[in-house]
């Protein structure tokens, strides 16, 4: 960031050079109560070093059991018996496995958005949430990967997806959106892992330096690669961080674009539309932010992180949810409009079956309510500041985004061109077991992350403190003529 931000002077700096007595709104502080660097280290490294609170065990034991039974048992049963144990049938050949795949991969996108796009746009508030969001990305992509890998039917042939020379002398079809997806998702996972790990190196060194000599110090020592915090390291490190942010930004947009190509490059009515890529990307960010909040709000109160994850952070994320939710709503309405306006009979009928006379109309309305209506409450600041409301809306969004993929796949495939071959879709018991299993897996992996790795970027939070850099903050000496938002609202100053 050293070099990166130097080239982009913030607007506040130029605004306050004016000494004419014009009142300037203070920049919101990101670390409350003027916490020292030592306090930040102690509080965040302490989460890893101290005994976990009872909450951790209450959540971890059931989550781990569910993961073990759901994913372990579900997959064993599926592999040993065959894909027939799923609800997939001749018409709805994609069913829940692909619904869940798109759901989880979408969840992951917020992590990359926060760490890459918000970094490039100099949104310093991302520093206290990016680590957890990136971890969430990794775990969500792991959950996602299970479904297509096993959906190929015979999982021991999943290596056919990789372009390796084989005894059949056949190669993958590189014109297929499904192969593009293999490349996109595996690249996404790899790059996210590199980004996450590199970002963690200085913080792992912090934990290494605090640990007593022993196994623990050795393990953190190995993973922190011998980091010394020298500026001759930082300057390359900062450049690498910026490059990774720069390549992750188009990557994250490409991943969900390619996922949407799985649908959009087909000729299925309701799927064959050009709005799919932007609509999927907006939906992914939307669902991912909701999941970040779902995880971070409890984490913040359990571990007492109120001074680094402030209401400002939650407020910003709620605004992004309102924005992306509205974009998604626009996409839903535009789909309907184009279905009618294009005069395409099958397209129009596909949407009529979602809306009025199909087998699963209620899921369409559930999706509409959860994704479009419920986030509109975030237009009100009081609602964005109310953690109960924020949690409830985020839960709606989590559910709604799952329903979106359900609507796209399960209401469309069983009702295509020929009424004679129409069918319906019902998930099987194994579908349920596997999906709930991945939820357990996601939660238990996240809890293990909280337990063993620094869940907040210690170095970057220190970076956002006041006067943390070679030159003093331009605002710090100008307390006069410098007002807070509260003063303006209470009418204390005009």
């Amino acid at each position: 960031m050293a070099e990166a931000t130097a080239t982009a002077p913030s607007t506040e700096e130029s605004a306050t050079t004016d000494d004419s007595g014009v009142k300037v709104l203070a920049r919101e502080t990101l670390v409350l109560n003027e916490r020292s660097m030592g306090w930040i280290t102690n509080r965040i490294a302490g989460i890893v070093e101290n005994k976990q609170p009872a909450y951790w065990w209450f959540l971890f034991i059931p989550a781990a059991l569910i993961a073990l039974l759901g994913v372990g048992f579900g997959l064993s049963y599926q592999v040993s018996t065959g894909v027939g144990v799923w609800g997939n049938n001749n018409t709805a050949m994609w069913g829940w496995p692909i619904v869940n795949f798109v759901f989880w991969i979408g969840i992951g996108h917020a992590g990359t958005l926060i760490s890459a796009i918000l970094f490039l746009t100099r949104q310093n508030w991302r520093t206290s949430i990016n680590r957890a969001a990136e971890a969430m990305t990794i775990f969500a992509v792991m959950c996602a990967g299970i479904f297509p890998a096993f959906h190929v039917g015979r999982v021991w042939f999943a290596w056919f997806l990789a372009p390796v020379p084989n005894h059949m002398a056949v190669w993958q079809n590189f014109k297929s959106a499904l192969l593009w997806d293999v490349f996109a998702v595996s690249t996404y996972f790899t790059i996210s892992l590199i980004f996450w790990f590199l970002g963690m190196v200085p913080d792992l060194a912090t934990i290494r330096d605090r640990a007593k000599p022993g196994i623990r110090k050795a393990i953190y020592g190995i993973f922190s690669l011998g980091w010394r915090g020298g500026n001759r390291q930082w300057r390359h490190y900062e450049m690498a961080y910026m490059i990774l942010a720069g390549i992750s930004t188009p990557l994250v947009l490409s991943v969900h674009t390619v996922v949407s190509f799985d649908f959009a490059t087909s000729v299925v009515p309701g799927w064959h539309t050009t709005i799919f890529p932007p609509y999927f990307v907006a939906g992914a960010i939307f669902g991912g932010f909701a999941m970040v909040l779902t995880l971070m709000i409890p984490c913040r109160s359990i571990y007492g992180l109120h001074d680094v994850i402030t209401m400002k952070h939650i407020d910003n994320m709620a605004k992004i949810i309102a924005l992306t939710g509205t974009i998604v709503g626009y996409a839903y309405l535009m789909e309907l409009f184009v279905a009618w306006y294009s005069g395409q009979k099958y397209e129009f009928d596909a949407f009529m079956m979602r809306l009025a006379d199909g087998p699963k109309t209620s899921s369409y309305y559930a999706m509409m309510f959860c994704n479009v209506i419920s986030p509109q409450i975030f237009w009100f600041k009081a609602m964005r500041q109310n953690l109960v409301v924020v949690m409830i809306v985020c839960m709606f969004v989590n559910v709604g985004m799952w329903f979106e993929r359900y609507v796209i796949i399960v209401t469309t495939l069983p009702r295509m061109f020929l009424p004679a071959e129409w069918g319906n879709y019902f998930p099987s018991f194994t579908d349920w077991v596997l999906f709930i299993g991945t939820i357990g897996m996601f939660i238990s992996l996240f809890l293990l992350f909280l337990r063993f790795l620094p869940c907040i970027n210690i170095a970057e939070v220190k970076w956002t403190r006041k006067n943390a850099h070679a030159h003093k903050d331009p605002l710090s000496d100008k307390v006069k003529g410098y007002v807070t938002e509260e003063q303006v609202r209470s009418g204390e100053v005009a």
């Binding site: 050293a2 931000t5 500026n231 490409s254």
Partner: protein, 184 residues
Amino acid sequence: MSNELKRVYGYLAEFDNPQDLAHAAEQIRDAGFKRWDVHSPYAIHGMDAAMGLGRSRLPWFVFGGGVLGLTTGFLLAYVTQVIIYPTVVQAKPVNIHTTPAFFPPMFELTILFSGFTTLFVLLALMGLPRLNHPFFAARQAHKATDDGLLIVIEARDPLFSKEETRPFLEKLGGKNIELVEDAI
């Protein structure tokens, strides 16, 4: 302990705030020292200029990695689809004009190779992983990842002197000055 041989690594000094640290770094730079470093728990803005360090060379390597990835992606798709085993599907031609259909894998491999280049070249430029380093012999080394703003002038520097470097650091405002000695 008494007859253990030790090698002087350098002098370490702590500074109160980033502004003093940067000021001291400028003075050390101007005095002509070459083998020294500033250790801090986070990347400090403006420290590269204060230390007289240029822009990192990393982007050039990453550009090369990206180009290699793009080429790999194109060749992988083109050679397998057009040359080795022409696959006629989706009404697409089997010649150079089919390339647009290969754009997604080409793009993804560009990113993948750039990412790996970033990781490995970064580690090479930083000289990591290196688990032992004489810097860790300093009693205050742990501050560099907690709340200390440190400057280390190494004994390898031609201008280093066991007698004169300490007062020099004191003059710059350095506190808790420590002679770092590494066991051989």
